[in-house]
């Protein structure tokens, strides 16, 4: 159930950083003692979007695209160079307590847990910081601990925990105050596939149960595919796509994939007449191939294939989202 008023609105957001450039080598170091050149990096360059309550939106982009910078601005950590930002009706930069009590930021690579103390101590501190009454605290904590299966590790020093265990505790610490808005920056980074799946399921449940608005950045397309209906693709500080994840394929995929199984020997050259051969194998009795053809011609090519070659089985597929996005970035950077 999506509320129509946007919970998050970003308009013409820009964030520029000044970075110091050094020439390579020792000589460059000496030169830089006297004269330094600075360069302006446009981490976020005129991005606008709105997000409604209950939406789960995936931010997709390469390293340094501006995903994390945008999340940091939405959390009130960074001061925008230009543009308007509103989260839950507040300007995040004002860092009002009433706003801060309604959101949480989880960064996969960094932690808010006190490193030398058991996670439970951080939970109790957060209880006090977010002014959570005893009863709801206990209820939320119990359910989170049970959901994530971390009963046994709450009294162990955080530095002794595995990455997966720590990440679970990080999530608990971030969710104790039941945030309405959740910013997750690479929440599954470094975790094994089983743990990634567990966290994903958990995030999905949290969204459903509390109608929470979630923005997620991830390098793993599986995270985005499984959790987000909507994706925003950011490249070099610009938004290049905003819409349903499935629409990325319609918009950017130029080809379709045809998987073929032949009943008799067919040469690679024969197949190449119909499209670009991606895979070809023959072991004397089985002959298979995969080709890509322009989307609009897929049906026509398929029918020609059936007519002209000894095709036993034919399958027309959409390319994977990963492949399409890879193609988007490659074409842009070519």
């Amino acid at each position: 159930m999506h509320n129509l008023d946007p919970i998050i609105s970003v308009s013409h957001l820009k964030k520029y950083f000044k970075v110091y450039k050094k020439e390579p080598g020792l000589l460059g170091s000496f030169k830089s003692l006297f004269n330094r050149t600075y360069e302006e990096v446009k981490a976020v360059d005129d991005i606008s979007f709105t997000i409604n309550q209950g939406e789960v939106v995936g931010f997709i982009g390469q390293n340094g695209a501006g995903k994390t910078t945008t999340l940091k601005i939405l959390s009130g950590l960074l001061y925008p160079s230009e543009g308007e930002v509103s989260v839950l009706g507040y300007n995040p930069w004002d860092r009002k307590a009433v706003f801060q009590k309604q959101f949480a930021l989880v960064m996969g690579q960094k932690n808010q847990l006190w490193w030398d103390l058991p996670a439970m101590e951080t939970f109790l501190l957060n209880k006090a910081i977010y002014e959570i009454p005893d009863a709801p605290f206990k209820k939320t904590l119990d359910s989170l601990v049970e959901l994530l299966g971390v009963q046994e590790i709450l009294k162990i020093q955080v530095r002794k925990l595995s990455l997966g265990q720590r990440m679970k505790c990080e999530l608990i610490a971030a969710l104790l105050h039941n945030p309405k808005v959740l910013f997750l920056d690479e929440p599954t980074i470094g975790l094994d596939v089983v743990m990634q799946k567990a966290l994903r399921d958990f995030i999905k449940d949290y969204n459903k149960e509390f109608n929470a608005t979630i923005i997620l950045t991830s390098h793993y397309m599986d995270d985005v595919k499984e959790l987000c209906e909507r994706a925003i693709i950011i490249d070099s500080g610009h938004k290049i796509f905003d819409g349903q994840l499935q629409d990325i394929i319609d918009k950017y995929a130029r080809n379709k994939i045809l998987s073929l199984v032949f009943s008799q020997a067919v040469t690679k050259k024969d197949i190449a007449r119909f499209g670009e051969v991606k895979e070809y194998s023959e072991d004397g009795s089985h002959f298979t191939a995969t080709i890509t053809v322009p989307r609009k011609e897929a049906t026509k090519v398929a029918s020609n294939l059936l007519k002209l070659l000894p095709v036993e089985d034919l399958n027309i597929q959409e390319p994977s989202i990963e492949a399409v996005i890879r193609e988007v970035f490659q074409t842009k950077n070519a």
Partner: protein
């Protein structure tokens, strides 16, 4: 207020995790006081006064300075600029916390822990040396406590000023090191400032450094007249206000340039 109390408790627990490190650090403080006591006790076996200090005054000086050292100069905020530069501060910035109160509570918790140890160590030293001490009257004690708070606040602002360097540069250790050197010379940590020539003393008196502990010791020893007490109270207050204002301005400015690098 509960959140700050909880933070106070947690800072204490955090400070008590590494027992060996805590023990060795206290041992170092303890031994340095014992060494100073031994040296001055030896010096006073052959003379009645040294640099205008009687033996009782000098021993009281060492006691007072070791307490002030723990309460004023020791600070957990020495690494603050690193936290700012690395972006580790982000986890506090997104929470409904007053940042200065958060940092202040950690500092106070550390000082309170130090103070308890200093009391125990002082009792031990007292048993070993059985020294004669100069004890201040009630008025002086009250003024001392106010100056002590003033010194703590001044050092807190100074630590925050150094911490703010992290907004623009990773290199805060250069200036910080210079500051430690200045403190060693001008806060009376190594020797009473009376040893310095009058002209140098007059200049040092205008800097914030002697207000971190030196004048507090002079007050306890009864070496300041009423005019001196008023003058130094005024300068201390001035430094607290000036450094506090600079700090608030600089942090406001710094947070706008904060890049939360890596975090």
């Amino acid at each position: 207020m509960r959140k700050y109390w909880q933070l106070f408790l947690l800072s204490w627990q955090n400070g008590l995790v590494y027992r060996l490190s805590l023990l060795l650090w206290r041992l170092r403080q303890f031994l340095s006081t014992v060494m100073a006591m031994t040296i001055w006790t030896v010096v006073f076996t052959s003379q009645q006064t040294a640099f205008g200090y009687s033996q009782a005054q000098m021993i009281t000086y060492i006691f007072t300075i070791s307490i002030l050292q723990s309460l004023v100069l020791a600070s957990v905020l020495n690494g603050l600029s690193g936290e700012v530069y690395s972006g580790a501060l982000s986890k506090e910035l997104v929470k409904p916390l007053n940042l200065f109160a958060y940092l202040g509570i950690q500092d106070v918790a550390d000082k309170a822990k130090n103070f308890i140890f200093v009391l125990i160590e002082s009792a031990l030293i007292f048993m070993i040396f059985k020294p004669e001490l100069v004890l201040p009257n009630l008025t002086i004690t009250i003024i001392f406590l106010v100056w002590l708070l003033g010194g703590m606040l001044l050092n807190f602002w100074i630590s925050l000023l150094f911490g703010a360097i992290g907004f623009w540069s990773p290199q805060s250790w250069g200036p910080r090191f210079l500051f430690f050197m200045m403190v060693d010379f001008t806060a009376g940590k190594l020797f009473p400032l009376d040893i310095l020539p009058q002209a140098v003393r007059a200049i040092v008196a205008l800097t914030p450094f002697p207000y971190l502990s030196y004048y507090q010791t002079q007050l306890v020893l009864g070496r300041l007249d009423t005019a001196g007490v008023i003058q130094h109270s005024f300068i201390l207050l001035l430094w607290v206000v000036v450094s506090g204002c600079c700090c608030i301005w600089l942090w406001k400015r710094g947070l706008q340039d904060y890049s939360a690098a890596g975090q």
